[in-house]
Symmetry: C2
Subunit: 566 residues, 2 copies
């Protein structure tokens, strides 16, 4: 009993420690102005003078070894097949391997522990784990580079502070929803001569074992919302990373387990369920009758399969075709530079990267006259090349290509029927001579060749689609979003009526539009506490980071009642 | 333009008129204490001295005629097959009949009108329609009696004030969610030497054509939440009533159309899509590619079919097996009287009616000693009989049996293998000698005959299940809820540990428990603004009146953004 009190005090002190931040985060969810809890700049003044070197050393030290930080026991095997896109060589890190049945069994047991931990204690523990992860942002950055191929800056930001902000957002959203209805009230109904009095109570009942299935390109950013969203609402989580990108999220999981253990809780509340390409456990996990919640990022085919499994609550981010509508603009050079950057960034391997560029055959109206289709194509190509060929920027913006399949797809793209405005080529990464690289391919496609551009061509592939006019551009962009899905959309127009038409038509296709971006802000970017990531309203995914539904669907409100004794 | 301003002013004045009530309703959603906007007592002082007689006359006047109140045009036919369970005779009211394609086409057109009406104007129009319906509560009560078989008091309350309260609850919940995020903000990110400033806006985009499929027993109560939940969030609605119970909801729809027309809006924003038993349009509507939202109350088989249609957002209330756990209690007579009432009420045709009664073989502990299984069965039967045989109460509490199928099921129930404690019989309704009536059948079933009691036996059928002990009772009640679904649960225990075990185990099965009910409060009852109706967490349905998900899923948040010009 004394032991219990001590542990309760310890957990509550974690909550009190993090309550100010949690309150700020809840407020930010509603205000949707800029808010970030974790600094995105890898500044030594913020993260420590030796943080970068230490993180890199820690990462290098993990190569070729067992990842022994997890507190999970009774593994069946050790294995790992990660490869660095920069080295084109195996990392030779091995992870404990468990059967799907073993993972689910342990998770089910942990469920009955975790669901009884108060929401305040859960929140304290989870925010504390983010604090621990913060000390490892550099290590996670190198782990992300060498599994995803991201450049250092993106790897640091996306897998570190931005992921932690998204995790905090999910904690805040979940915590707010858990507080939405009272724990107990007296229901007091006047009946004339007397009052009918009933004591009522409401419980937020977590749904059960949660499986979060990661992707190879954003192994932490795309997974932490599901992990923390399920955990804050009382569900135990099995993290099933992509076999090609385990280490970054394994570090998150081990820090969560550390905080759980310190607080006398079953560490199987959050398990890593790593697997290998030759023996994937994803389907077995997803179909297991005791698994109630599934989060997934990846291809549409698998996402659709998951969404159709009966009896599961499934959250997906799948694929889409992102459009850019070019109608009218002020400075074509600034626009071409902005879009060239968006195409080059991480070699087009972001789910928010643009693919289809709709340009009217009559050209684009600008403040200095009409820019023809060909003139715009030339400017776009020139801007792509100039960034690629800038040795101080290009290699770091483009990074490396995560998989051979993507590299092959880019090569094959040259065969798309249409004028090839730019071929994909290689370049030298000064730090990694063996890096798997590919620069963008740019191809002109006629608007009537819908079968060509009506699918996601993942990687640095840009299609310039010549349309009759902006109305056709809008119609095609909407059609893509409605039928293929879309996560982002760019649009350039100086005409208020056209702007509203784009805003309205794309809203009907549940696609957010970035208007008239130039300079240092890109359509690929997506800020926690402000931009909903994926809307859930078109085929690119059925969930949204982080709207109320994203956390509400992870638990059920159950109300019990009993009359007050006379 | 002037015309537009006038209409806008008129709509906004409706909003202002109803804003105080709307605000109270939103507050009530969160407080969850007693709140009712519409008086449940058919008191002449409240509703007017002649309201009852007028309503009855209006109902009688509609018999044998075309229902001409709707403003819908271009009907293909007129038809109607409603029959009164009290008269066992056709009402001969006919309704305009439209093809599914025609209804959806008109709805799709109305969508683009309604989605552009502000949420304030929508709220004003919808609350105003409830005000209009209020003047017709008595007429709706008689319409409900003569389609569902409910007694007058239930028909008045459930189809009138309680339904209107549930509708208001859905309007309030939707309105609150639409206000959850700002329409527009300045996102202002400090970048060191300058701030990155982006104007952001969010639109709550309605999903599109909504179809609300009604049931034969609660034609308004179970449909208005979907109707008003879809309408407040900007979706046009096609109301597809059960062919056996059209009139009550047709009156709601016609009043909604009146207010729409007065406010210069397309009346097809809310259409009645009546059909007949021999030519049901439900599947055609549900499968239509332009139908995005479906609400359904009815059997599990059809509900499961609807839930599995890809690309739809579906809200269901299906069937379940409701349990009563009898462990220990104070006054067995009060408990038996309470449960007998719950069984008799509307002849067990409520989705919240109890079916399975778990009684330990060792009996029920009471303050005056143990009551054996047989003693309890005798008391329950005696209480059922005494209510049935009370001519001033019985016929009005039991009402009539809605369908022949239910009447047959009750008769057949005598053949369930087990001791028949009470046979179903007939009784005389002093007002309707031809009423289709059936009193409860009570049968003892062994706990090992799970196949017998693991299904819903809709109607006045009570199974007394002899269990080893309360632990087995709880396990069976949970099993039923988890696998067959459950909407309500009753439990009697004076032991705090047992109480918490029941509360916890049934919460895990997403089933609300009413503890120790006696006197004038019954497990069948369910109050707007306090009790969530159906939790959505077990097979009895995937939705809950009215939790945030119930309205959030009817629209999508889409955010657009544009940098502030330098």
């Amino acid at each position: 009993m004394e032991q219990n009190n001590k542990i309760n005090d310890q957990r509550m002190s974690l909550f009190e420690k993090h309550q100010p931040l949690l309150n700020k985060a809840i407020e930010a969810l509603h205000r949707r102005t800029f808010f970030a809890a974790f600094a995105e700049n890898p500044n030594p003044a913020i993260y420590g003078e030796t943080a970068d070197a230490d993180g890199q050393a820690k990462f290098k030290g993990s190569l070729g070894k067992k990842f022994v930080e997890l507190k999970q026991t009774d593994e069946a095997d050790w294995a790992g097949q990660e490869e660095s896109p920069y080295l084109q060589d195996a990392l030779k890190i091995s992870y404990p391997i468990f059967s799907a049945g073993d993972l689910v069994g342990k998770s089910k047991k942990a469920f009955h522990v975790w669901r009884k931990v108060t929401k305040e204690q859960r929140a304290g523990i989870l925010v504390e784990s983010l604090d621990r992860v913060k000390a490892r942002f550099f290590e996670i950055a190198y782990a992300t580079m060498h599994t995803t191929g991201q450049g250092f800056m993106m790897a640091f930001q996306a897998s570190g502070p931005h992921a932690a902000d998204r995790a905090l957002e999910a904690i805040a959203a979940g915590y707010e929803e858990l507080n939405r209805f009272p724990n107990a009230v007296l229901w007091d109904k006047p009946m004339g001569k007397f009052n009918l009095q009933i004591n009522k109570e409401w419980r937020a009942v977590p749904k059960g074992v949660s499986v979060v299935i990661g992707c190879s390109t954003f192994p932490t950013w795309n997974s932490v919302t599901g992990i923390y969203g399920s955990l804050i609402t009382g569900n135990p989580v099995i993290v099933k990373p992509h076999p090609g990108a385990i280490l970054p999220i394994a570090i998150f999981v081990s820090e969560i387990q550390n905080v759980l253990a310190e607080n006398n809780l079953d560490i199987n509340i959050c398990q890593l369920g790593a697997d290998t390409f030759n023996k994937m456990i994803t389907k077995e996990l997803a179909e297991h009758e005791d698994v109630k919640l599934i989060d997934f990022t990846g291809n549409s085919q698998f996402g659709n399969y998951l969404e159709a499994i009966p009896g599961k609550t499934v959250f997906t981010e799948k694929t889409g075709v992102n459009s850019v509508i070019l109608d009218s603009l002020e400075d074509v050079d600034k626009v071409a530079a902005n879009l060239a950057f968006s195409i080059n960034l991480y070699s087009g391997q972001m789910c928010t990267a643009p693919q289809n560029f709709y340009i009217p055959e009559g050209g684009i109206k600008t403040s200095s006259g009409v820019v023809t289709f060909d003139q715009f194509a030339e400017k776009l190509v020139a801007n792509i090349n100039s960034l690629v060929d800038n040795p101080k920027a290009g290699p770091f913006v483009l990074g490396a290509v995560q998989s051979d399949r993507t590299a092959t797809r880019v090569k094959d793209a040259e065969n798309i029927p249409g004028k090839v405005w730019l071929k994909s080529r290689s370049f030298v990464n000064p730090m990694f001579e063996n890096a798997r690289v590919a620069t963008p391919v740019v191809i002109e496609v006629s608007a009537d060749k819908k079968e060509i551009f009506s699918k996601e061509l993942f990687g640095p592939i840009a299609l310039l689609i010549k349309t009759k006019n902006t109305d056709q551009s809008i119609a095609l962009a909407q059609d893509m979003a409605l039928h293929q899905g879309a996560i982002s959309c760019g649009a350039y127009t100086t005409d208020a009526t056209v702007r509203e038409k784009i805003a309205d038509e794309m809203a009907l296709a549940a696609t957010p539009v970035s208007f008239n971006l130039i300079s240092g802000i890109y359509m690929n970017q997506n800020a926690a506490f402000s931009d909903f990531h994926v809307t859930g309203g078109n085929p690119s995914g059925n969930a949204s980071f982080t709207n109320p539904e994203y956390v509400n669907k992870r638990f059920t409100w159950v109300g019990h009642r009993e009359p007050v004794k006379a």
